[in-house]
């Protein structure tokens, strides 16, 4: 496999969920993982140890030689946040389609009806999108959307501010208005493990200012949202994400997705992508 694909960090497990050694897939190849906190390990099929990092509730590895250390989320390190392991959901779709859906707000009124959006408020206002060359990340800022129930801790409808960040080809982080603490951002991530080009395991994870909502409610809220997304992700044609323009039709609301696709193409990341227009 090409270095453009291997030389990235990938999530392969929730640290709190690792008990006995187990096999999983990464980029179509079998790996084995196990160990204890502080001493987790990942091995390829030939028995070679791969690099590992434990961070943000998850175990990260790379089959290649990543050019950069694992991305950081400084906000997630702040005192007083609750760190929420949300478990995982396997989805029969391209890992890149899963990330792109996470970056999209225009679907909220139709897929997360009366939760993250409502049909009475569908407009997506212009926002800023940039490929940050220094960090090699995609960022969308000044994103605003009306939400009937933005989070488990939200009471009634509010206009929610968002920032979206693609920190690695299969990793996205979103920052959103934190209802109990104006001025702070809640952090919700989508860590995607590419099992194959058309099958992925999605690990959502959160770092929230919310001292009151029971943990099980936080987890089931996020699981419900992602189950709704899965009904879309398993019904897109083609299954792989088309990187060339022409096959699909973006509008201004899709600027993040356009930048994501352009960035993937620029860095040569084609795993789960359809490069030649069908």
């Amino acid at each position: 496999m090409r270095p453009e694909i291997e030389n990235h960090w990938y999530p392969v497990a929730m640290c709190s969920g690792i008990t006995t050694p187990r096999e999983t897939l990464l980029l179509g190849k079998t790996i084995t993982l196990g160990g204890q906190p502080g001493a987790f390990w990942v091995r390829d099929a030939a028995g070679n140890n791969l690099q590992v990092v434990e961070r943000y509730g998850h175990l990260w590895t790379s089959p290649g030689q990543p050019e950069r250390p694992l991305f950081t989320i400084p906000e997630a390190e702040e005192q007083g946040r609750r760190l929420v392991d949300c478990g995982s959901i396997k989805v029969r779709c391209s890992p890149l389609r899963a990330v792109e859906n996470f970056l999209d707000i225009a679907h909220f009124p139709f897929i997360h009806t009366d939760i993250l959006g409502a049909e009475s408020h569908t407009e997506v206002e212009r926002y800023d999108v940039k490929i940050r060359e220094d960090e090699n990340e995609v960022w969308a800022t000044k994103v605003k959307f009306f939400q009937p129930q933005a989070a488990q801790s939200a009471d009634g409808g509010i206009t929610t501010d968002y920032m979206y960040r693609v920190a690695a080809p299969t990793v996205s982080v979103l920052y959103k208005t934190c209802p109990p603490r104006p001025g702070a951002w809640d952090v919700i991530t989508l860590f995607v493990q590419p099992l194959t080009e058309e099958w992925c395991e999605v690990w959502p994870w959160m770092a929230l200012y919310d001292d009151t909502t029971p943990m099980s409610d936080l987890v089931s809220f996020q699981q419900m949202i992602f189950m709704q997304d899965r009904s879309i992700l398993e019904n897109q044609i083609p299954v792989k994400l088309p990187l060339d323009p022409g096959m699909e039709t973006p509008t201004q609301a899709d600027l993040t997705s356009v930048a994501y696709r352009r960035w993937l193409k620029k860095i040569g990341y084609t795993y789960g992508a359809q490069v030649v227009a069908a």
């Binding site: 679907h107 139709f110 897929i111 569908t122 509008t251 201004q252």
Partner: protein, 195 residues
């Protein structure tokens, strides 16, 4: 390729959308509130979502993903993320000719040069999926290369879906219960033979 039956008219109620397939081509069938039937390519031009999962309002079909709304000619008429925008004419679903005749819904993927076949006088009964190629069904009924097969008690109309499976649409001359059981037995025999 000629007209292909894709379902029973009665199975597609007003305001409903459902998927169908002809020779590997995925279709969204939908019936407007007026009763008109439509067969479109099963993907929204925006982000490839299946339009067969969409919702019908009046004479329009909307994609479930972002609510993009399409008129009966396939042209996009409304994009909810941009309520004031008049969508460019270039945003258009793929449309196919679609006719309801003899109790069945017929689709022609190419430009139509004829009308759907006239069916014998029989009542549209049910559709069944068969896990065998369409040629196996025709051969089993000793009517190779035919797509409308009259067995006397029943009329069987064949729909190739992909290489390994097909649909049959069954019409009954009389005794619908008996014909329905016969069709199930037929399916079982063909699938056993194919396996």
């Amino acid at each position: 390729m000629g007209w292909v039956a894709v379902g029973l008219g009665n199975d597609l109620r007003s305001g409903m959308a459902m998927p169908a397939r002809i020779d590997g081509v995925d279709l969204a069938l939908w019936r407007a509130v007026s009763g008109a039937v439509h067969a479109w390519g099963d993907r929204c031009p925006h982000r490839g979502m299946r339009l067969s999962q969409g919702f019908v309002r009046g004479e329009t079909l909307s994609c479930i993903y972002h609510g993009w709304q399409y008129d009966s000619d396939g042209g996009c008429s409304y994009i909810p993320a941009h309520p004031d925008l008049v969508p460019p004419k270039s945003i258009c679903a793929t449309t196919y000719d679609c006719i309801e005749s003899g109790g069945l819904i017929w689709v022609e993927l190419d430009a139509p040069t004829s009308k759907p076949p006239m069916l014998p006088d029989a009542a549209a009964l049910r559709s069944l999926q068969i896990a065998a190629p369409v040629d196996d069904v025709a051969a089993f009924l000793e009517a190779p290369d035919q797509s409308v097969i009259d067995t006397g008690d029943a009329v069987v109309v064949l729909q190739p879906t992909d290489k390994a499976s097909c649909m049959i649409h069954v019409l009954a001359r009389q005794n619908p219960k008996q014909t329905s059981r016969w069709a199930e037995t037929l399916r079982k025999q063909i699938e056993e033979k194919a396996a």
